[in-house]
């Protein structure tokens, strides 16, 4: 009986490559999730900062201090870089602004995500 010689079925190389691509995609998705968390954390920090300046006697410095505290407590890591964080008073509003850069886990594939975020609150009279 002749042995069939076409039943090779040796898929190791393709399997490894395909799995590698799939895992890479998973890691990129994880990177996206972490970036979204960090963006939300910075927004919360800016909100907290703006709210710290709501009392009539509070100043923009209180806003900046509070926002920095919150950033340190919930988004302090090597994957996020806060380039600038400031609060200014515009009329009866306090506006907190931050320029942040979210580091890419694969800089070759994806660049860092730079963004400017802002929050505001009306001061009490």
């Amino acid at each position: 009986m002749k042995r069939p010689n076409e039943v090779r079925g040796f898929t190791t190389i393709q399997y490894v490559v395909a799995t590698a691509f799939s895992l890479l995609l998973f890691v990129l998705v994880a990177n996206l999730l972490v970036d979204l968390y960090e963006r939300g954390a910075i927004r919360d920090a800016l909100d907290e900062g703006a709210r710290a300046a709501v009392p009539a006697t509070a100043t923009a410095d209180d806003c900046t201090t509070r926002a920095r505290e919150v950033v340190r407590s919930i988004a302090n890591g090597s994957s996020i870089r806060v380039d600038a964080l400031s609060c200014v008073q515009e009329g009866n509003r306090v506006v907190s602004t931050a320029q942040v850069s979210l580091r890419s886990w694969f800089p070759i594939l994806l660049p860092d995500w730079d963004m400017t975020l802002q929050a505001s609150a009306h001061q009490e009279r």
Partner: protein, 138 residues
């Protein structure tokens, strides 16, 4: 009797992989990319309603519903929500001391949303109430 012919089974995995990516991985990626936006928009609607209600209570009894709507829209814009995705309703501005100021902010949630592209939608409404102080001076 000749041996049955065996068809080529050279194990070309690309087709299976493409199928798996299309049927399993992509839906998960889309879901994972969409769900955080729901949480973000929910939070933005809550913060916007809270700020609008706070402004109304703070300026009572001269609270202006239109200015509260503007405040809510400003806050929502800070969170990256377009004005067309937002509906702000001031249900009550508080007529007397002890009344409750009530603000509803309805935000459109994309059923599927990836990087600015979206399909389908549903709505979430954040409702915030704040009580006008019982001994508030006019």
């Amino acid at each position: 009797m000749p041996a049955p012919r065996v068809r080529g089974e050279s194990g070309f995995i690309a087709v299976e992989w493409v199928g798996a990516v299309a049927l399993l991985l992509l839906p998960i990626v889309v879901l994972v990319a969409t769900m955080p936006e729901w949480a973000e928009r929910r939070n933005a609607a809550t913060v916007a309603a809270r700020e609008a209600a706070r402004v109304l209570v703070d300026s009572w009894p001269n609270g202006d519903a239109n200015s509260a709507v503007l405040v809510a829209r400003e806050v929502a814009a800070d969170h990256g929500i377009e004005a067309s995705d937002l509906d702000v309703r001031v249900a009550s501005v508080g007529q007397a001391r002890g009344d409750e100021v009530e603000v509803d902010v309805e935000v459109t949630m994309p059923a599927i949303g990836v990087d600015g592209m979206s399909a389908g939608s549903w709505h979430y409404t954040a409702r915030v109430t704040r009580r006008v102080d019982d001994y508030r001076s006019r």
